[in-house]
């Protein structure tokens, strides 16, 4: 996809300012296909949020402050008036908990960065910009040049960030015009998005056993308990089973 050519272009790590600019641009360009992929989901999320009673400006407020697609889809699905604050916070934390490991994997490459800059850079870390930033750092480390390129990473991250925020806003504006989504089967878009996200996290049937535990526990809780308890019950059962299986290893 990108950028085998950094190897052939020592210029980019040479003269300081033009190098910074071109690294930033390289990051933006590398993430362009992903930006295009963000657009339809941002529109759907914005439309769905507006149907749940979000005002148009409230949507970019959420997506701009939070910037975590999977958790935002989940929160919109669970949204009620008034919202269950703690449930939403817990679900957000758990869905995004993979970022703990992603941040840890990136940490060895962030050691030369002032902590303030690292903390700011991490605000914009999403699955895709993390993957690109890490791959780029590994490539640079193999070349023996300073591994982490902040401008490259920020180029990739900011491009994705503004695409997400702008198009969720547009979706919120267009949402009311789109009418009742369920009558077209559009409610199936959510499990579809989640199933694709799950496929992306798939690393074999063994690792997915806790997911099955969650599914069974979640379905039983759905049938027996009121409200959104199924999220808590399903997640807790899955995490507990992962803990038990993790101990045996």
């Amino acid at each position: 996809m990108e950028p085998e050519n950094v190897i052939g272009h020592p210029v980019e790590v040479g003269a300081r300012n033009p190098a910074l600019r071109s690294e930033f641009r390289r990051g933006v360009l590398a993430s362009t296909p992903v930006m295009l992929g963000f657009v339809p989901f941002a529109l759907v999320l914005g439309a769905q949020a507006s149907r749940k009673g979000f005002a148009p400006v409230e949507v970019p407020l959420m997506t701009g402050l939070n910037f975590g697609g999977g958790s935002e889809f989940a929160v919109v699905q669970l949204w009620s008036s008034p919202p269950h604050m703690l449930l939403i916070m817990a679900v957000t934390f758990l869905i995004n908990s993979r970022h703990l490991l992603m941040g840890a994997a990136l940490t060895p490459y962030l050691k030369d960065l002032p902590r303030r800059k690292a903390l700011l850079a991490l605000f914009f870390m999403c699955d895709e910009s993390w993957a690109m930033g890490l791959a780029n750092a590994k490539r640079r480390a193999a070349l023996g040049i300073p591994a982490f390129s902040l401008p490259y990473y920020m180029g990739a991250s900011l491009g994705l960030y503004f695409t997400w925020v702008c198009f969720t806003f547009l979706g919120a504006l267009l949402g009311p015009v789109m009418g009742n989504l369920e009558s077209y089967g559009l409610d199936m878009a959510f499990p579809a998005v989640f199933l694709v996200l799950l496929k992306g996290m798939w690393s074999g049937p063994r690792a997915a056993r806790p997911w099955l535990v969650s599914l069974v526990a979640g379905v039983i809780a759905c049938l027996l308990l009121p409200g959104a308890w199924y999220v808590v019950v399903g997640s807790a059962a899955g995490a507990l089973s992962a803990c038990i299986w993790g101990m045996k290893k």
């Binding site: 989640f194 599914l215 997640s235």
Partner: protein, 97 residues
Amino acid sequence: MSTQFFLTILLMALATYLTRIGGYLLLRKHQPSPRVAAILDAAPGCVLISVIAPHFASGHVADLAALGITALAASRLSMLPTVLIGVASAAALRGLL
């Protein structure tokens, strides 16, 4: 915009930011224990599948069949075609069954 809305969004943003900096701040010095790593590995998937559990719990044959088709599509295709197939199969099966 209600205070409650704003507070909820703020808590949500805080939770996400903690996961982003948590790995950097905490695991910089130590490696996570295998047990913690196992939970962190499985947790996002467990939460995602729990959130969509109601779709699996609905007793409607058309919805369950559409969900099965969508899951099959998700295992082979990327996001956009999967969503399109999910939506189309739900609309069609609800009309037929």
